[in-house]
Symmetry: C2
Subunit: 473 residues, 2 copies
């Protein structure tokens, strides 16, 4: 290990005490691998600051000693975004001790949470104030506010309230020189030049370390209902969504599920059962909510709005789950697709987006083209149709072999990414770039995008000390 890293560790220990640095190998080890187990990094220590001041001091010391830092929250990145380089050249900096909710202002509908606050804990805390933080995703029990902000996370409620970008009212962050940017004032109007807060959202720790975030809250939900629809195809699903959006703003979830995915879930996930009596090629899950007694009850709303679509044949069949148990059961099907697919053999997974209006065409054509290019493979797409974002999976199918993933995954990825680029879409809708998508970002971006990304990275982090090897060098 170089002297600089040891010097930094000793310096931080001397200044902030034992708790501020973890060097015990057994305690460091679990945080060196991403949760999917694809990336294995090395780091002699985890820096563990307890306050913004400590983060600022550590970043300044690291800058002086030219030691790279890898910020980490819940370590739930899907793209290796929080795993340090394998050569041990960088130190991990964990925000997990900074787990205080600094304030909840129900009147202003704002909360300030430190970077290490776990999403589920924030949900609980604001619920006590009769408010809601309207973003959720599978890893809510582990992922942190800092990581969610640094990756502009999405999830299943984006349709109504947007991604983190729309929910972040302000950011506090330590910049690479150790100075603190304080945007927590959450001004509704502020035109003092480029938005540093918005620049930090989605920056993946590459130009600063987010230490706290001011978040927008919305009224708590008083009731919800979930409908399960049987449909002929993705265009019908989008037509239903458009019709609903014209009539109400109470729709919070709209997920599309192909018949094959439902079958896999029913086969592999115990306790699941088909919501509808017959089989349909496509399905949609629709969630509506109410947040006051004055709002139309969600089940009645869905029934009223879906009835004409059933009559006209746009929807083949529908069932509305008004009880919480039914709503949970429908969501469990949607949330179990990835797990069920894993049970059916290897697959590549692509988190992609295209313009919403183009998604039905894209889903159908891209599946066909992938299956033609890789005969025997099976493509399927499911997820957030209303956001123009699906999880596009390619299953090995009859091509399956022990080394299929190693042999074919990158060719499949390039093929899918080319289709996405041709449709004017994004090769990363939700998960970010991290390590996984760095080469593809470079391959498919026009010169203007790489120029802008590189210029910003180099300007703010000239020595490349912030989360090296992620997003852009």
């Amino acid at each position: 290990m170089t002297d600089a890293r040891q010097q930094l560790i000793a310096g931080i220990r001397a200044r902030f005490g034992e708790r501020a640095v973890i060097t015990e190998a057994a305690e460091v080890e679990p945080w060196l691998t991403d949760w999917r187990g694809r990336y294995h990094g090395a780091s002699p220590a985890i820096l563990s600051p307890a306050s913004t001041e400590e983060v600022a001091a550590m970043v300044a010391m690291a800058a002086e000693l030219v030691v790279p830092l890898v910020p980490q929250g819940g370590n739930t990145s899907m793209v290796g975004g929080a795993t340090p380089p394998a050569d041990g050249s960088a130190l991990l900096l964990s925000l997990r001790r900074m787990n205080r909710i600094r304030s909840i202002d129900a009147e202003s509908n704002l909360a300030v949470a430190e970077a290490g606050v776990i999403l589920a804990n924030l949900h609980d805390a604001v619920a006590d104030a009769d408010r809601r933080f309207p973003l959720t995703l599978g890893s809510r029990g582990s992922c942190t506010i800092g990581g969610l902000t640094a990756t502009n996370a999405g999830g299943t409620q984006v349709l109504r309230f947007g991604t983190m970008r729309a929910l972040v009212a302000g950011v506090e962050a330590v910049l690479p020189d150790g100075s603190v940017h304080d945007g927590l004032g959450a001004l509704k109007k502020d035109n003092r030049g480029y938005s540093i807060d918005q620049l930090l959202v989605g920056s993946e720790g590459t130009i600063g370390i987010i230490t706290a975030v001011s978040l927008r809250l919305v009224p708590a939900i008083t009731s919800r209902a979930v409908a399960w629809l049987g449909l002929g195809g993705p265009q019908a699903a989008l037509d239903v969504l458009r019709m609903l959006e014209l009539e109400t703003n109470a729709i919070e979830g709209f997920e599309i599920v192909p018949g094959d995915s439902l079958s896999l879930v029913l086969e592999h996930i115990p306790g699941t059962r088909a919501p509808l009596g017959e089989e349909y090629p496509w399905h949609a899950l629709v969630e509506a909510t109410a947040s006051s007694a004055r709002d139309e009850p969600p089940a009645a709303l869905l029934e009223r709005l879906l009835a004409p679509a059933l009559e006209s044949g746009l929807i083949a069949d529908a069932v509305i789950g008004a009880s919480e148990a039914q709503a949970e059961a429908f969501w469990r099907i949607r949330d179990s697709i990835s797990e069920a697919e894993r049970a059916s053999g290897p697959a590549t997974q692509h988190d992609i987006s295209v313009p919403v209006a183009d998604m039905p065409r894209f889903m159908v054509e891209a599946e066909r083209e992938v299956e033609a290019a890789f005969p025997g493979a099976r493509a399927s797409a499911f997820g957030h149709l209303g956001d123009g974002n699906v999880h596009f999976h390619v299953h090995a199918g009859s091509r399956a072999a022990d080394d299929w993933y190693e042999r074919e995954a990158s060719a499949v990825t390039r093929f899918v990414d080319d289709l996405v680029a041709a449709a004017g879409g994004s090769i990363s809708a939700e998960h970010g770039i991290g390590q996984t998508k760095k080469a593809e970002l470079e391959r498919l971006s026009p010169a203007s995008r790489m120029f802008a990304l590189r210029s910003i990275k180099h300007a703010l982090d000239p020595h490349g000390l912030m989360n090296p090897g992620k997003l852009v060098d």
Copy 2:
């Protein structure tokens, strides 16, 4: 004039024809002074591209010849943001020929407008598609989409729909090297690194020239009602707003008007009359809208929600204007305040914001402190209370003299800006920095902000050729 500028003019003429460059002094002249008449610039020509390709070529040619460019839309900047330097070193580049609305997609609620489209024309065009672009301001007949985006404009409907930042779904811009960033795809989810679109919003032409914008639309309004309230103070006004926001999301405007401002309007603006029978120290104008027959009629909604506040004494008196003529009459009072104030002598104007919850305290205390520091002067604040943004004016009062503005304006400005900074606010809520607020931005910003602004500017525009002398060098 240096050879480089003449060479550029000749080169552009040769490549794009006579229409692409205006050199006739009489035609150039009107665009060399800002509309308030405070800044007088010089430029040998106005470049006048008709397409994104032409802008890109002109920027590339200018970069090669090292000629600075000043982009200009409707020339309605309040801070000298579109006026070229007085030494004639830069050329104006007008986007006004790029005035095409490229598309209106009512289903997707998106429109793509070129930078030179005038706001009022966009309003009319989307109305034909039964949609609305929910941002408006006084200069709507002159200001352009490019300028609105480059300055992150606000206005009187920000309360519900946000500033331009929230309404911009994507940006097309020519970067300083002449490459074109195309964000018009308007992906709802896109995590390919730093958001270049959001970076361009509010960048004041200093890191690229916006050529077209993808804009979010909302349903057209079917009816509106405007209430005029008599109130005891700003805190009561904010309490009313909070109460309304808990009950409905149909409130689109909430403007606070002090009694003195109303008196000035009644005195100086012909045809205005007091909405209420008695005089009150403070007033609020509240607008509610409906966009479908199913929505509660706005007049009934306001009546229902305001009644308890009248009963409890939170509101002293109220009148609801349900007819369009009454609504217009109430708004005319609000919109005439600046004009009426001009008739009553010189004043300094400060477009400032603080956290919403703190605005009532700030308004009262800042007025008192200014009047104590400048005896005889009179301070008043009015405007967008719900956004934490007021227009804070300091009238010369008994200090008035021919040279008052020249003598005292900057001392007053520094005093007000210090109060804003102490409250964690912004010295530019809506208008941007431009030339006017550049020194104050530098004086009051922490090192972290200036470091970030400068780093970004220098990285993307290393030769300082984009709108020189504005925002940051």
